[in-house]
């Protein structure tokens, strides 16, 4: 059993954290005034939630996009449930207890983590017990389905607000009648009366909010862009917490003034603006501080977030407040992009934004708990590709810190920033000095020595526990192969999972860039590189100049990697080369799941022990189909273009390569030394002096 916390403990900690951050910001002369205001607002909001009980207030918990204006107009204290779990993740870090409590309730891990955490938080009393539980189907099945369980846990009455799918007149009429029903419900439960004048006033302020948001968007078009990297999350939070309230207007006015001043002075949010980004969906909330620093370090800034900050430029009618509340739902950008049909009009609008805000690239935060936004990734990527804006997709979780490490996120973003920088690669005409590239993988370490455009020596050794010693040994061996016995002062660029932080390396490049450079050096015709390593697989797109144009990798799961193949070979009591050649002779193929390495293992065992046993050749082919299927799926996410080069240790497996060709319906190239292509790329980067920190 999970221990029960003191009632409302999570909110208490939130208040303390906001107070502390606010105090620190006030002491910091460089702090933004809008930020100081932001923390004051959060503190105010959560103090009120916390004091609700003792002060005899009526507390209503509600899901995201619930029309909170109605609650304010009735003097009911709102508690935004999803934002509370987000903010708790941002300020308090660890969410493990609330997520564990959610799991104990029987909520499947595929359910959106803020919602799982939410039910868990109520279960262990981490949030104050609300007087009523309110929820709606805006924005997804999770919001639609979360309320009944929460109401039951709290043993409180609940109200579900049914938001229709599209915005026809009749649907708005239905929604207005739902709102009337909500008001009746709340009046009955709270004993508070609806103050219609107050509601009208909030509509007037909502109009002002929309106006300010539009002006803020305009200011962000400036070069350099004045708003800090992930500031949009603050814009969102303020509207989620204080919609149509004086606090929201005050905050937006502060932001507006700050940005206007900056634009006038030609000041940008980052020291040297290099990358203007479009942000799609929301990054991991527990990494906001880290991401702000990382963006600052790389001169990156988010200038537009079509899913969140771009409101329909329309105004609401204060004399018809309830209708206006209903219509507001159709003005918010989330409604356009996440709920309701995703039309070509919305996609075109996104492309227009990319142009207007002069973005160089887009980052899609693929939050695995959000199914309906992830289903639009390809639509957005294809739309942006048409106007030559590359998009990177980063798998993540919004609140669960165990899903991604900061290093993973850094790697993914840096690779993308390298791609956006497009270094000029003239791999065939380098400076004539002896340089080395070293690729430290999870299984092997590879080194390549080149002089100008000539490869002098390569080496492949088993990776050591100590990456530094391993890299040195690999370089030494490559030098020996090159016939160089002395110990020259080499310029070294490193890559690979262990390639960071080598004391003697001049720089580090991500594997994607190195693969693109190495592949281009070997074959100018290559446009796609598939790298299958020990613990990960990467697909890289290269243009005719050898520039990296897109990449995707898969490292969360062993299925589809070299280690997976090794494990399967062991189960069959064979060596990898044996499995490889046997697979080429297969008549049929055993059904083996490509989805999970653990399940695949039990499937292989059952094929081996079946009576009569499945022919070994068929099992071998089945294993290769599982891996090839997985790889093909990864390739299809970035789109495959000829020529295709397969590299990495697994490229030596002819059986697998044959099946991969079949799955992709394309002939692939395999270089003479497929394992050293990334190291070669690193050496070329060293030669060009492009390997930088």
């Amino acid at each position: 059993m999970i221990s029960t916390e003191r009632q409302g403990s999570r909110v208490e900690s939130l208040v303390k954290a906001c107070r502390l951050i606010g105090r620190m910001s006030r002491l910091n002369p460089l702090a933004r005034q809008s930020d100081i205001k932001y923390y004051q607002l959060l503190e105010k909001y959560y103090s009120r939630v916390l004091r609700a009980r003792e002060e005899g207030g009526f507390l209503a918990s509600h899901t995201v996009f619930f029309p909170t204006e109605v609650l304010y107009a009735m003097d009911i204290i709102p508690m935004h449930t999803e934002l509370t779990t987000w903010l708790a993740a941002e300020f308090l870090g660890a969410q493990s207890e609330v997520l564990a409590a959610g799991a104990e309730l029987g909520l499947a891990p595929e359910i959106c983590s803020p919602h799982r955490g939410l039910a868990g938080a109520f279960k262990i009393n981490a949030l104050p017990r609300p007087d009523v539980v309110l929820w709606s189907n805006l924005i997804c099945d999770n919001t639609a389905k979360s309320g009944e369980l929460i109401a039951e846990i709290n043993r409180r009455p609940g109200f579900f607000l049914d938001h229709p799918f599209q915005d026809s007149k009749l649907e708005i009429k239905y929604f207005v009648s739902e709102l009337q029903e909500l008001v009746r419900f709340l009046e009955e439960r709270s004993g508070h009366k609806m103050n219609w004048d107050k509601l009208s006033e909030s509509i007037v302020r909502t109009n002002r909010e929309i106006e300010l948001l539009h002006e803020i968007c305009e200011l962000r078009k400036a070069i350099p862009s004045p708003f800090h990297a992930l500031g949009f999350l603050e814009l969102l939070s303020v509207d989620y917490l204080f919609p149509g309230q004086p606090e929201a207007v005050e905050y937006l006015e502060a932001v507006h003034k700050e940005l206007s001043d900056m634009v006038k002075q030609g000041k940008g949010a980052v020291k040297e603006e290099k990358h203007r980004l479009m942000t799609l969906f929301v990054p991991p909330m527990h990494m906001i501080g880290f991401l702000e620093r990382l963006y600052q370090e790389h001169g990156a800034v988010s200038t537009v977030e079509p899913l969140f900050t771009y409101w329909n430029n329309d105004r609401l009618d204060p004399s018809r407040p309830l209708e206006s509340v209903a219509r507001k739902a159709d003005l918010i950008p989330e409604r356009r992009t996440m709920y309701g049909p995703l039309t070509d009009k919305v996609l075109k609008e996104t492309a227009d934004h990319a142009k207007q805000y002069k973005v160089d690239g887009a980052v899609y935060w693929a939050f695995m708990g959000c199914r309906h936004t992830c289903a639009t990734i390809k639509l957005f990527k294809d739309t942006l590709a048409e106007i030559n804006v590359p998009m990177v997709t980063i798998d993540c979780d919004l609140v669960d810190p165990t899903i991604n490490s900061e290093e993973e996120i850094r790697e993914a973003l840096e690779r993308f920033f390298e791609q956006l920088s497009k270094p000029h690669v003239k791999a065939t005409a380098g400076t004539h000095v002896l340089v080395a590239g070293v690729d430290i993988g999870s299984v092997t370490t590879k080194a390549v020595i080149i002089n100008g455009d000539r490869v002098l020596g390569t080496s492949i050794i088993a990776s050591a526990d100590d990456a530094e010693a391993g890299a040195k040994a690999a370089i030494k061996e490559a030098l020996e192969r090159a016939g160089i016995r002395s110990n020259p002062d080499l310029c070294v660029v490193s890559t690979g999972v262990g390639g960071k932080g080598l004391s003697f390396s001049k720089g580090h490049k991500t594997a994607a860039t190195c693969l693109a450079m190495g592949a281009h050096y070997l074959y100018h015709s290559v446009r796609t590189v598939i790298d299958i390593g020990g613990e990960s697989c990467t697909v890289v797109k290269v243009d005719e100049g050898g520039h990296l144009t897109d990449s995707i990798n898969h490292d969360k799961c062993a299925a589809g990697t070299g280690l997976f193949l090794q494990q399967m070979a062991r189960l069959m009591a064979m060596t990898l080369p044996e499995v490889s050649s046997l697979s080429l002779q297969a008549q049929g193929r055993a059904d083996i799941s490509g989805t999970c390495a653990v399940f695949a293992e039990s499937e292989v065992i059952s094929h081996v022990h079946r009576d009569p046993p499945t022919p070994k050749a068929d099992i071998a082919a089945g294993i290769h189909y599982a891996v090839a299927g997985r790889l093909a799926s990864l390739c299809k996410r970035v789109g495959i273009e000829k020529d295709v080069l397969v590299v990495g240790g697994v490229a030596l497996n002819a059986g697998l390569v044959a099946i991969l060709e079949e799955e992709l319906s394309i002939k692939v190239l395999v270089p003479e030394s497929p394992q050293t292509v990334a190291a070669l790329g690193a050496a070329l980067a060293a030669s060009e002096g492009t390997g930088s920190d």
């Binding site: 029987g106 359910i111 999770n142 039951e152 799918f165 995703l342 199914r371 992830c374």
Partner: protein, 391 residues
């Protein structure tokens, strides 16, 4: 544990073979192709909130869009829909992308769940059909929701009329209601037989019948089903099962899954699936107070609800009713990974079953899973547990 294989006690049903033929050939069945070659239109629909009678009345052959019959690598599905959408929607999309449904003249969906509405968006963008329409389906079943849904059905009918250049008359709708209600009556008769101590038909066979029901014309289905019911009456077939089970949860089209449960000696006697009970259970009621279209729309919104509907209690009560009427010893809930509406309901449903002392086994599955390996082991353990409880 002694596993009585029910297959040993049963004579193969001849009429069943016709249903199987349809399922094997789907989506490109002979009947569909014949329909097309005669210049008639075939429309695909998604989810039980699309009123088929309206399509039928317009002279269209409605077929239900489903995914692959077997668990398949969903490379295209993953690439277009991402891996965190349920395997049902990814499977359907992949079949569409591969041209398996290239004959469709139109698709009709409802705003039922996130996965389905996105499947619809992607279908429209990457596959495209000459006609598409998505119906807003309220989540409530109140009078106001009925009004909105009726308007939606009416708009759908008008869109269809405009697209086809025809008028759908009340007489045609009445005729379609009669054809579909006849199916529902016949299926109710089939389910009545499953209430017997020794039902003449297995759970796996029932799903085969149901699968084919939305893959051929209703007229022909009714004819085939009548033949099968007669054969069942005449055969004196009596299936033995040690345990009577209900299968609940996400969309399912694969009889192999149920077969693997029944091979362990149990009988699946009823279900709460949108491809079975929830598809046919409520008839369109014509009592003179409503126009045919009103009667249709009312039936579809207040039918045995999907987990997407509010309040969930309505669905729970129906499940408990089925458990009682079919005298089940346990419920197997199978939820496709990322099927969020059902996943959210699971804690609430298990509480309610527990309160009535009905054992529940909940399985995380992929669409079209055959129920081998771990699933089989878990079902077996569940049956042993029921056995221990009984004695």
């Amino acid at each position: 544990m002694a596993t009585t294989n029910i297959a040993q006690d049963k004579v193969e049903l001849q009429a069943l073979e016709r249903f199987r033929e349809i399922n094997r050939a789907f989506p490109k069945t002979e009947e569909v192709l014949k329909y097309k070659s005669r210049g008639n239109k075939v429309f695909g629909w998604l989810c039980t909130y699309v009123p088929e009678e309206v399509l039928h009345a317009a002279g269209i052959l409605p077929v239900r869009i489903t995914g692959y019959n077997q668990e398949t690598e969903l490379n295209d599905g993953n690439a277009y829909m991402y891996i965190n959408n349920c395997s049902f929607t990814r499977s359907c999309l992949q079949m569409g992308l591969k041209g398996e449904y290239s004959y469709l003249d139109g698709i009709v969906g409802g705003s039922t769940c996130d996965g389905v509405r996105r499947l619809f968006d992607l279908w429209r963008h990457y596959i495209g059909t000459p006609f598409d329409h998505v119906i807003t389906v309220p989540r409530k079943m109140t009078e106001r929701a009925q009004e909105l849904y009726y308007q939606q059905v009416l708009e759908f009918k008008q869109h269809l009329e405009q697209h086809l250049g025809v008028r759908i008359s009340d007489e045609q709708l009445l005729h379609s209601i009669e054809v579909f209600n006849e199916s529902r009556r016949l299926l109710a008769r089939l389910y009545e037989m499953r209430k017997l101590d020794n039902p003449p038909v297995s759970g796996a066979e029932t799903l085969e019948i149901l699968d084919s029901s939305f893959r051929m014309s209703k007229e022909r289905f009714n004819e085939e089903l009548r033949r099968l019911l007669d054969e069942l009456d005449a055969s004196g077939r009596k299936l033995k099962g040690k345990w009577r089970l209900m299968v609940a949860g996400s969309v399912m089209n694969n009889p192999e899954f149920i077969k693997s449960i029944e091979e362990l000696g149990a009988l699946v006697v009823t279900d709460e699936l949108c491809t079975s009970t929830r598809y046919w259970s409520d008839p369109v009621v014509l009592d003179g107070s409503r126009t045919p279209l009103e009667a249709i729309s009312r039936r579809y919104l207040s039918n045995f609800p999907c987990a997407r509907m509010f309040p969930s209690e309505e669905r729970f009560n129906r499940i408990l009713g089925l458990a009682r009427d079919f005298r089940v010893d346990g419920v197997i809930s199978q939820i496709i990974r990322y099927c969020v509406p059902y996943a959210h309901d699971l804690p609430l449903l298990s509480e309610r079953l527990k309160a009535r002392d009905i054992p529940l086994l909940s399985l995380d599955v992929e669409y079209a899973t055959s129920g081998s390996g771990q699933i089989r082991t878990r079902v077996q353990a569940f049956l042993e547990m029921i056995e221990a409880k009984k004695s």
